[in-house]
């Protein structure tokens, strides 16, 4: 377990070893994940778009007040740069409305960090600011973050957002699965508890997969026969059931099933120049981070619990 923990925190080591071709198959591909890690199954056919989950998240995470109250449904019409709303530096989760042609009512979809089993944000971060906890959350430690924003580029779901308020205190903002306040104690995240219709089901990821498959089996006409997140990006803790094709609810169905780390590695193996430079560069950053880390060991220890 300790080794695994270290591996999961050791994005640097893994990618360097992979890059140098010491292991053909990356360790990430062999790591089966934490057996009892938790997840959430989002059933789009149940969601009524009430935005209670957004409100619950805002209070729980003490985020800044929103522009419009959480029971204002005009936000579903909002477009920013032609795009529907996204989680941003003030908002860990948003619910959007879609109109699949085959349905006679809108389909609502909650967006937040999917808490990947093998997170690209984590593997792309060379100062180890991210941790995948045994409970299933992907958490972030602002004390070691150098603000390079690699994670924002690496994430296949475009989740991490950068808070620009201070250039000297870089801070990535993203859903942390209520890790510190709830998940660690076995409690469901605030959004799940607020949902009036159990559109969000919290449980062990393995149980959720069984539930999702049972719902599809019992109501095959109500669902697309797919659980988004079972395999996408190497598997995610948050998974989705939908009554309409996933791309019609704003999902990126081109996200590969392999963990993103493997892609980074393949890319690197084609660029020998980069191979020469990156390890040294990473090592430099790592030392930097370590120094910073030592100064704040109390805080990080807390995160490792």
């Amino acid at each position: 377990m300790i080794n695994r923990r270290h591996f999961m925190k050791g994005g640097l080591a893994a990618s360097t070893i992979g890059a140098l071709g010491l292991s053909k198959k990356s360790e990430a591909a062999d790591f089966a994940g934490y057996p009892d890690s938790m997840g959430v199954l989002v059933d789009l056919s149940r969601c009524i778009g009430c935005r209670s989950c957004e409100a619950a998240c805002n209070s729980e995470q003490q985020l800044p007040p929103p522009e419009k109250p959480f029971n204002d449904f005009s936000v579903f019409e909002e477009l920013r740069h032609g795009q529907k709303r996204r989680p941003d530096e003030n908002t860990y989760t948003v619910v959007n409305s879609y109109d699949p042609p085959a349905l006679d009512h809108p389909l609502f979809r909650k967006i937040q960090c999917n808490h990947c089993l093998e997170p690209a944000c984590l593997t792309s971060c060379f100062v180890n600011a991210y941790t995948k906890t045994p409970e299933g959350a992907v958490i972030y430690n602002p004390d070691v973050c150098v603000g390079c924003r690699n994670c924002m580029i690496a994430c296949p779901f475009y989740i991490p957002a950068f808070r620009y308020s201070s250039a000297f205190q870089p801070r990535i903002m993203k859903c942390v699965f209520c890790h510190d306040t709830r998940l660690r104690e076995g409690k469901p995240p605030a959004c799940v508890e607020s949902c009036p219709v159990e559109a969000l089901t919290f449980g062990r990821r393995t149980d959720l997969l069984a539930m999702g498959k049972q719902r599809i089996r019992q109501n095959p006409e109500s669902y697309v026969n797919h659980i988004y997140g079972e395999h996408e990006a190497g598997g995610t803790a948050w998974m989705y059931l939908s009554p309409a094709p996933f791309e019609q609810a704003g999902f990126d169905t081109t996200v590969p099933n392999e963990p993103i780390l493997n892609y980074v590695k393949d890319f690197l193996s084609f660029v020998p120049m980069v191979l020469m430079i990156w390890p040294a560069l990473f090592a430099g950053f790592h030392l930097l981070a370590k120094r910073k880390n030592d100064n704040t060991s109390a805080a990080t220890q807390d995160n490792e619990e």
């Binding site: 209670s52 805002n58 959480f70 029971n71 449904f73 469901p188 605030a190 949902c195």
Partner: protein
């Protein structure tokens, strides 16, 4: 924000003492205490206040089993409620006797997704791996009919926001900064 369910007054939600007085259905061998005419459902109040539920009025408009589904025993010719029962339940419960209580909260937990509920799925012979919690059960009992009959469906038409709820939804009408706009529908 924490839901302080346990701290809430556990007032009697007799949602439950449903006997079958709906038109056309005889109570037959199953005798339950007559239900109160009006019930205060406050077992889950938090962001929203209690629901003043007129049981008598609803019992005139729907069959008992529309809400109390499989809790009232096997079907017979006078109790044709099977149309409402999920066929998947009947695989095992075709001949199940009526339950001792028709209270929703007897089977549907308000501690949904808390550790005690999560470990229940460890029982290898348990078919109910996906049992609905109390909050969903209440809404599922009411909403399909309200939608079908095109009656009120907005949140505050059944339960008003509490002060805590107003804060959670960030309605700040006291300062005039934000209006309570856009309630459901």
């Amino acid at each position: 924000m924490k839901f302080e369910h346990r701290k809430m007054v556990i007032a009697m939600v007799l949602l439950l003492a449903g006997s079958c007085f709906a038109p056309g259905i005889s109570p037959g061998q199953y005798q339950y205490a007559p239900p109160p005419k009006e019930i205060t459902i406050d077992y889950l109040s938090d962001w929203y206040g209690p629901v003043q539920y007129n049981h008598e009025k609803h019992a005139q408009r729907a069959d008992c089993q529309d809400c109390h589904h499989h809790t009232t025993g096997p079907e017979d010719s006078e109790r044709p409620f099977r149309k409402r029962v999920n066929p998947a339940c009947l695989v095992c419960h075709e001949q199940s006797p009526p339950s001792e209580t028709v209270s929703c909260k007897q089977c549907h937990t308000r501690q949904q997704f808390y550790p005690g509920e999560v470990v229940k799925s460890d029982n290898p012979v348990l078919y109910h791996i996906d049992r609905t919690g109390l909050k969903r059960a209440y809404h599922q009992a009411c909403m399909p009919c309200h939608l079908e009959k095109r009656t009120h469906t907005s949140c505050d038409s059944c339960h008003a926001l509490t002060e805590k709820g107003r804060q959670a939804y960030q309605l700040q009408d006291k300062t005039g900064q934000k209006e309570s706009s856009g309630q459901n529908e």
